[in-house]
């Protein structure tokens, strides 16, 4: 009997929760705000689904009632991806160590 692919996805999901658990506990508390902004950016990988949805129309009607939601989702996710990564970069650039020669 073959195993339902859903079980494999579920396994990935459960194991990722554990990976997330240990990785996030090791994040230093002073970087919790960048952590939130970067998780925000990466959860926007949902843009993958949005692109599939957006390209689901045919060449006669690029915007049908289904693909239009895809396009809207693309724009929203893109705001998040660019905004999230850039603002994280901006924050992380500010964290500096004490200057030795002071």
């Amino acid at each position: 009997m073959e195993i339902d692919p859903l079980i494999f996805r579920l396994s990935i999901f459960i194991l990722s929760i554990f990976v997330g658990y240990y990785v996030v506990w090791s994040v230093t508390p002073s970087l919790h705000t960048p952590l939130m902004s970067v998780t925000n950016a990466i959860s926007s990988v949902i843009i993958v689904g949005a692109i599939i949805a957006g390209l689901s129309g045919n060449s006669n009607s690029i915007f049908n009632n289904s693909s239009i939601f895809g396009f809207l989702a693309i724009a929203l996710a893109a705001i998040n991806i660019f905004g999230g990564f850039l603002v994280t970069q901006r924050m992380l650039a500010m964290y500096k160590k004490k200057k030795k020669n002071k």
């Binding site: 990785v23 926007s44 949005a50 949805a53 970069q89 160590k97």
Partner: protein, 465 residues
């Protein structure tokens, strides 16, 4: 066009890169590299999606156009936003993830063929369940984050909004959502799908309005977690590994942050979710307040105390963010350091409006991160320090949390500020903090109150040093 197996492997790679992105945040040195891993993971995921569809027609140009428009808006916001507004920004971003999840779910529901999920009216059962959960959680994330955003922005009052029958109503809607998912799956009727979305938007709204301003760190972390679960739900629908991994990562990350924040306030998660304690205590605290003597001073007195100290600990709080006093503070500290005074910063886990809020502000003001300490690291040092400079914090310094079991904040971990030889407390008035209780510290023998705007007072002290 690349094969499904190959694209699945690339999605796995981008998932691993996202793990490395979070891993990088374990120290500031590796964090920037981590962020680059995250960007790389995103680029791979998007590119592979294009290649696997392999349809570079007119639609493709529109996709790029929408990415460009969204990306420019995002980049613009990222460069313009002041660091003090980070909580609002993150709440706003969460709402977008939630809404994007809802839109993808709607699109998949209307056109399941495009996603290999079956046909309208006959969508695979598993996919339909995953889709509706993703859509419901996404909708909750969206409306909840909007409320959090409005509260943080000050457009909506930060005080808790409660009404009679609130909890039964919420419970009713939550049960309704489960029934609707069941009905949707058994009938495949689109009507149930739309009602489900409306109910989810509504519950997101209702869940956040009773939560007060200072509980926002928990709320933001919780919504962070929700946005992850929504992404994971959609990931299951689309059978996409990158989305599933990311959803799980973000979901557990938000959950851990919520836990840390709740622990920082010694409150259970449900206690926070069911409504702020500021609501009920407001009336009692104002009427029973006794007039006790306080010592108040001016910038000159404060400067004198600090000049004669050998070590100073700074305790920043949300008030510092409101007054934008972080730069003025750093200038004051620079002057102190020139006089060979040892200065460090003590950060309470729930200081500010989101996890790590104070650390970012101090970093912005060029405070080296190795001078900034967490509660457990620094709490024993207060006893040996000469001056504690409390700027914009209140409840997190209240010694009552250690001594009075009747107090609503009893058991909350607090900074042992009162153990310092002298305490300088910058505050605009004697009004109680968010918890609605008097701070015992105000009336201590070794406390000098500095009634002023945090920024102005800090500047005046620097002049007098």
């Amino acid at each position: 066009m690349i094969s499904a197996n190959l694209s699945a492997i690339f999605y796995l790679i981008s998932g691993v890169l996202f793990i490395l992105a979070l891993r990088g945040l374990s120290s500031p040195e590796t964090s920037r590299q981590g962020n680059l891993f995250g960007i790389l993971g995103m680029v791979i995921a998007v590119t592979v999606t294009f290649l696997s569809i392999g349809n570079f027609s007119v639609g493709f140009i529109f996709v790029l156009l929408f990415i460009l428009v969204g990306g420019s808006i995002g980049a613009f916001i990222a460069y313009k936003i002041p660091m003090t507004a980070m909580p609002e920004l993150v709440a706003g971003f969460h709402s977008l993830v939630g809404l994007a999840a809802v839109f993808v779910a709607i699109s998949a529901f209307l056109n399941p063929e495009a996603f290999n999920l079956g046909y309208p009216g006959n969508i695979k059962l598993g996919s339909l369940i995953e889709m509706s959960i993703g859509a419901a959680v996404g909708a909750i994330t969206f409306s909840g984050s909007i409320i959090a955003f409005l509260k943080l922005q000050g457009i909506m009052s930060g005080s808790p909004i409660t009404f009679k029958g609130q909890h039964p109503l919420n419970a009713f809607i939550l049960v309704l959502i489960i029934i609707l998912i069941y009905l949707l799956c058994s009938t495949q009727s689109s009507n149930f799908f739309w009602i489900l979305l409306i109910a989810s938007f509504l519950i997101g709204f209702l869940l956040i309005i009773p939560i007060g301003g200072a509980d926002m760190p928990v709320v933001i972390s919780m919504l962070n977690s929700y946005s992850g679960w929504a992404a994971a739900g959609i990931g299951f629908t689309l059978e996409n590994t990158a989305l599933i991994i990311t959803g799980a990562l973000v979901g557990s990350s938000g959950a851990i942050l919520s836990y840390i924040m709740c622990k920082g306030m010694n409150r259970s998660f449900f206690n926070v979710i069911l409504g702020g304690f500021g609501a009920t205590d407001d009336t009692t605290s104002s009427s029973t307040k006794e007039q006790r003597p306080v010592k108040s001073g001016n910038a000159d007195d404060a400067a004198f105390l600090m000049k004669n100290a050998s070590s100073v600990i700074i305790v920043p709080g949300y008030g510092m963010a409101v007054a934008q006093a972080q730069h003025a503070l750093r200038e004051m500290v620079d002057t102190l350091k020139k006089n060979d005074i040892k200065v460090s910063y003590a950060i309470h886990p729930v200081a500010g409006r989101m996890p790590g809020h104070m650390n970012v502000l101090l970093a912005e003001a060029n405070v080296p991160y190795d001078e900034v300490f967490e509660l457990e690291e620094i709490n024993n040092d207060f006893a040996n320090a000469d001056v504690a400079f409390v700027i914009g914090a209140n409840d997190v310094t209240n010694p009552v949390a250690k001594t009075d079991p009747q107090s609503p904040i009893y058991g909350m971990p607090v900074l042992d500020v009162e153990k310092c030889k002298s305490v300088l407390f910058v505050k605009r008035s004697l009004s109680p903090g968010y918890a609605g209780i008097d701070n015992d510290l105000f009336y201590r023998e070794n406390t000098l109150m500095l009634f002023a705007d945090a920024k102005k007072m800090t500047e005046d002290i620097t002049k007098n040093l």
